[in-house]
Amino acid sequence: MAHSTPAPAETEALGKSPTASSPARRRPSRVHRQRLRAAWLFLIPMLLVLAAVAGWPLLRTIWFSFTDASFASISEYDWVGFENYLVYDDGLWFGVLADPAWWQSVWNTLFFTVVSVGLETVFGLIIALTLNAQFRGRGLIRAATLIPWAVPTIVSAKMWGWMLHDQFGIINDMLMTLGIIAEPLNWTANADLSMWAVIMVDVWKTTPFMALLTLAALQMLPSDCYEAAKVDGIHPVRVFFKVTLPLILPALMVAIIFRVLDALRVFDVIYVLTSNSEDTMSMSVYARQQLVQFQDVGYGSAASTVLFLIIALATITYLYLGRKQIGGEA
């Protein structure tokens, strides 16, 4: 019907005077319709790509989780129902949900997430508050904070793997020189220490992200309430907890949630620093090990699906809580 190629719109726009009431009323609607159609034409390629790389593969993963597909012959499989998740057979429970190694990986991931995001938030806040002050060389320090962010995760894991080396590592050397430890520690292999080694690397790598987001929030704060507090002679620590923190809290929460969702799917740093050790294995490492190393696509997909559900739950909770903000903006 309305095949409004640019040409008719052009003649219309140029030909009719904008003061004439009826064409002026018709013109926007026509232009608007054209723009609507263009909008969808522009969106469809993007949505198709997302469907191809995200939507469809996710559905297939969920599908595979109910089959016995293997990595080598992914096209030949049988339907097995919930066997990969949980099955009662001969007096014993089998499946992902009955595997202690899976639950260990869930615990590891949660522990990693809470501790590393917590530390990153505190350190990020300290760095941001420092960078928010006026001093010479501020640009230099700010540039330096970006370095860990720019280093690829694999490289930072290897760098720290070397620094944490049990025999020749500089960290052990420092701690021994300072007299904190008496003999070298085997950071990446010791069951009690390896998770802390992973957390150390992650904190180093992602604190800059937190610091920069916090700094951006700090720089948007109005200065008048600080002046008022200064005039009233209120202690800076009190000002921080009573004024600064509540004001930057919304921005800080967004950064924290981003980091939490990221930490829940952690893979690289753990895989490279401690390989497939059960002491540090995250949910992603567990799922990939089943999928690729053990070639069990069905079982690995079941683990992946559970991980997806956990993250989806976290995301939905977040979106639900933050809905007002986004809705208001859109």
């Binding site: 540039a143 290897k158 967004v254 990939r288 690729v292």
Partner: protein, 280 residues
């Protein structure tokens, strides 16, 4: 009076110490990697805090490995292509989402946002099947295809944020002149979007350059790998015989370009990161 001065001095010293700690915390690991990369032989096994030698042997050894050099080219190719694809789809989508009011816009934004939350491992087996079906297994093209899952959502998101900030008058003028939406996008918005495109492009480039899980899973042979996988798979005889000198030299080679890029464009990157997160 004296006490006040002393107090001021102490707080100044404390602040400087804080700065020093921050500086050491952020820079030292990379500094130490560079230092190690210039050491060879038995030097590696004594802990040094300062540069004592400038031995290029590690660099020569790494760069003489054909597969490592090939993996650098693979990474460059994959990262650039990923950026181009993300830009092409991202810009058009951002125009629609940022400039046109239509029903379903909030839903589309939600879809984009939720895809960015996908754990990569959750699509691994499905994506593997798709890649096998397209006959792209063990081909860097498979990586370009799969990387859009994380580059496209944030490209769309950040570009939409920037697109929305541009004044309405520009577009109205174009509409009055009868320009089609595509012309408006190319003639009016893209010229103004260069800074935003540089930011998002850089973020997409870094994300693609650093990606590990897909690269590890969808490629098999040394000649098809990207640098993160190549570095992760550098091995010696055993855990204790890892060639640390070579490893650090390779790490420095792939990181220095990124660090330089990030330092040059630091303001843009910070604005991109905050636009991506604050609006999220």
């Amino acid at each position: 009076m004296n006490r006040k001065l002393a107090k001021k001095l102490i707080s100044k010293i404390a602040f400087l110490m804080l700065l020093a700690i921050i500086l050491i915390f952020t820079v030292f690991p990379f500094y130490y990697a560079i230092l190690t990369s210039f050491e060879s032989g038995s030097e590696l096994f004594t802990v040094e805090y300062w540069f004592s030698s400038f031995d290029l042997a590690n660099y020569q050894s790494v760069l003489s490995q054909e597969s490592f050099v090939k993996s650098i080219w693979n990474s460059v190719f994959v990262s650039f292509s990923t950026v181009v694809i993300a830009m092409a789809f991202g810009l058009t989508a951002a125009y629609a989402l940022g400039r046109v009011q239509f029903r379903g816009r909030g839903t589309v934004l939600m879809i984009v946002l939720s895809v960015s939350m996908f754990p990569q491992v959750a699509v691994l087996s499905g994506l593997f099947e798709v890649i096998r079906a397209m006959n792209l297994y063990n081909d860097p093209l498979a990586l370009i295809f799969s990387y859009t899952i994380f580059t496209l959502p944030f490209t769309v998101w950040i570009l939409t944020t920037f697109m929305r900030q541009l004044p309405k008058e520009l577009e109205e003028a174009a509409i009055v002149d009868g320009a089609s939406p595509l012309t408006t996008l190319f003639r009016v918005f893209i010229p103004l979007m260069w800074p935003a495109m540089a930011t998002t492009g850089l973020l997409a480039f870094i994300a693609a350059w650093n990606e590990f899980l897909f690269a590890l899973t969808f490629t098999l042979t040394n000649s098809e790998r990207t640098v993160p996988v190549a570095i992760a798979l550098i091995t010696g005889g055993s855990q204790h015989e890892l060639p640390w000198g070579n490893l650090m030299a390779a790490s420095v080679i792939v990181t220095v370009p990124l660090v330089i890029l990030v330092l040059i464009f630091q303001r843009r990157i910070v604005s991109g990161l905050t636009a991506g997160a604050v609006k999220g």
